[in-house]
Symmetry: C2
Subunit: 370 residues, 2 copies
């Protein structure tokens, strides 16, 4: 829009070309001409396409998928970092977009940032692991002026991180954040617990969720609460008083796992699903107890800024609470309680997972660099 900004050119390097990566590339390719974005690198786990002047991606999706499939050099992360840092110059920014969920790729951010390469990603790893990595990311960004943007790590395309940053930056005092942060957990408990004492068994709900692709291949990876704990870590670190509250990242969050102890070592998703019915009575009892109190069960994340308690847990909510009345499908819902918003919180709700809305969060971060 502004003529001063459209002259700036952005070289974009994309790592990870799965569902989110593919959708992101589609959104980038339909950007109205003249696009300030030029894709200089596409990397899958096997192949790296790299051309400092821009890859020819006309002819749409088929073409890059084909090119990536052909045998080609794989650049290592340090090699790619070096190549990209060589492209950073005034008026021409470089952006590394990490659409993987890889821990290794996440650990490359400090170097990328230090060399002036901006980082945009839906990958939670770097921001929710040990504090030391996160602090190196902050320091590298401050050193070079390169930015890291990770809106889509929490709530995908929903404005969660940007809203929290705005609240903090404009001097509001956040007192509590409470929400259903996992689309999978949302779906499971919206189906399982509607306020009645009976209903479908827990294992049947999880089985259907898995069949529909709402869970990880091994449902324990959702039911252990780690995904929620990671999101809580990312948000907590944005709040000044909690910046260093979680030294080991998500592992420092008080997390209640829904994986029965007896199934902790079950190696495959199929076996896990086969054995989960053994615990239906246990989950049924919790549901009945909640129903007796006119409540529903929801797996939530809570950041209590005042007490410093950060937890991912199964909680009961009255039937009149927005987590009971307003929630459906696999929606996320996040409530920000702040001094300015007083007794009634600021609420954001909507799909918090899925390739299209996640890629949208990545794309809107990219547009913030304009």
């Amino acid at each position: 829009m502004a003529s001063s900004s459209t002259t700036k050119q952005f070289r974009v390097a994309i790592t990870g070309v799965g569902l989110v990566g593919g959708e992101f590339i589609s959104q980038l390719l339909i950007f109205p001409a003249p696009s300030p974005f030029r894709i200089v690198s596409l990397a899958s786990s096997k192949t790296t396409l790299f051309n400092p002047d821009g890859l020819d991606l006309t002819g749409a999706d088929a073409k890059w998928k084909e090119s990536l499939a052909s045998p080609f050099t794989k650049l290592s992360l340090p090699e790619l970092t070096r190549e990209l840092s060589g492209l950073v110059r005034p008026g021409s920014e470089v952006v590394f977009v990490d659409n993987t969920s890889s821990d290794d790729v996440a650990r490359a951010y400090p170097d990328l940032l230090r060399y002036g390469v901006n980082v945009i990603t839906p990958n939670k790893k770097a921001f929710s692991s040990d504090l030391e990595l996160y602090e190196r990311i902050l320091a590298s960004s401050a050193e070079s002026g390169a930015r890291f943007l990770n809106e889509s790590t929490v709530g995908a395309g929903l404005p969660i991180i940007s809203t929290l940053k705005d609240l903090v930056a404009t001097g509001d005092r956040v007192t509590k954040i409470e929400g259903v942060f996992s689309g999978t957990m949302s779906y499971i408990f919206n189906e399982f617990s509607t306020g009645k004492s009976d209903g479908p068994s827990f294992s049947s709900v999880v089985r259907v969720a898995r069949e529909r692709g709402y869970t990880e291949p091994h449902p324990a990876d959702d039911l252990n609460g780690a995904d929620v704990a990671r999101k809580l870590t990312i948000l907590s670190r944005i709040i000044p008083s909690l910046k260093s509250a979680l030294p080991e990242g998500y592992k420092s969050v008080k997390t209640t796992s829904l994986v029965p102890n007896e199934l902790a070592d079950v190696g495959t998703g199929d076996e896990f699903i086969a054995r989960l019915p053994e615990f239906d009575t246990r989950f049924g009892q919790i549901r009945t107890q909640a129903a007796k109190e006119n409540k529903v069960l929801r797996f939530v994340g809570v950041i209590d800024v005042t007490t410093g308690l950060i937890k991912a847990d199964l909680e009961k909510y009255p039937l009149t609470h927005p987590f009971a009345t307003s929630l459906g499908g696999s929606d996320n819902i996040i409530m920000f309680h702040t001094e300015r918003y007083g007794a009634r919180p600021l609420i954001v709700q909507g799909a918090g997972a899925g390739a299209a809305v996640t890629a949208m969060g990545v794309m809107s971060d990219l547009l913030k660099l304009l």
Copy 2:
């Protein structure tokens, strides 16, 4: 955060020092040092303080209020525009913050923008009046590269405009926007219509709302729906297919006024309140009818992108609808129905009026310029 950005300096000229203006100044003054912002001008309707090197506002609120009260030169808008345009240079941006609701100030934006002065405002006038003014604003901004940001014109500090812009810019297709956009109307109908066929009279609810300062001095200025129509205009113009849909701005929105015809010419708020009970039966009947259908009444704004219908109207919603279950106080709630969000909309909810949250929206726009 980024060293490359913090070197940029912003000269801020503030017009309007009422509730929102005062709160904005407070938020600006607590910005952590070294602040990139320097207030060069403060203007009330009577006085203009101006110093191109920055006003001395240390000693907090009392001081500037005192200075503005002392007899001083009033710069005309063209004079102020000329002074500010003289301060625009590379690395030093100028921002005009309009915290008034003045039509005259709004009409100065095209000149300010053309001279390279960024404009930030919660004032709806410029963006919701005739299309010609809006197009001059767009053209002036494009010409110089100066930006206009107006997040707080809709939903105050809630992320409404930024969310819509993100949806559009990333290529999602918005199909419908539906919401309770007026805090006053929200309060009135949350109190008046709870799903039961009886309850407090309409006039008593309006009277209490006025006593609490929730309405304009003359409640007809809220009940006529113009405020909602203005917000719908601002949002519609962000959607490509509706960009030119409202040639006369809010006047082109299909608006149902709740001001009884018989009271259309009542000049004062006091007289209006005194005569409103004559129409309690009429409003009571509408409530009873809604209750019979198990519905509540809400005054909503709807932008149906598919049909092009843009309306502000009193509608009925089932008791299970978020507008019935989730809404309370004087909250706004806005639902974005889009292709990507599918069957379940993206929802933003919270206080959409009040000095602190409005100033927060203004401040977060200012931070976007960083």
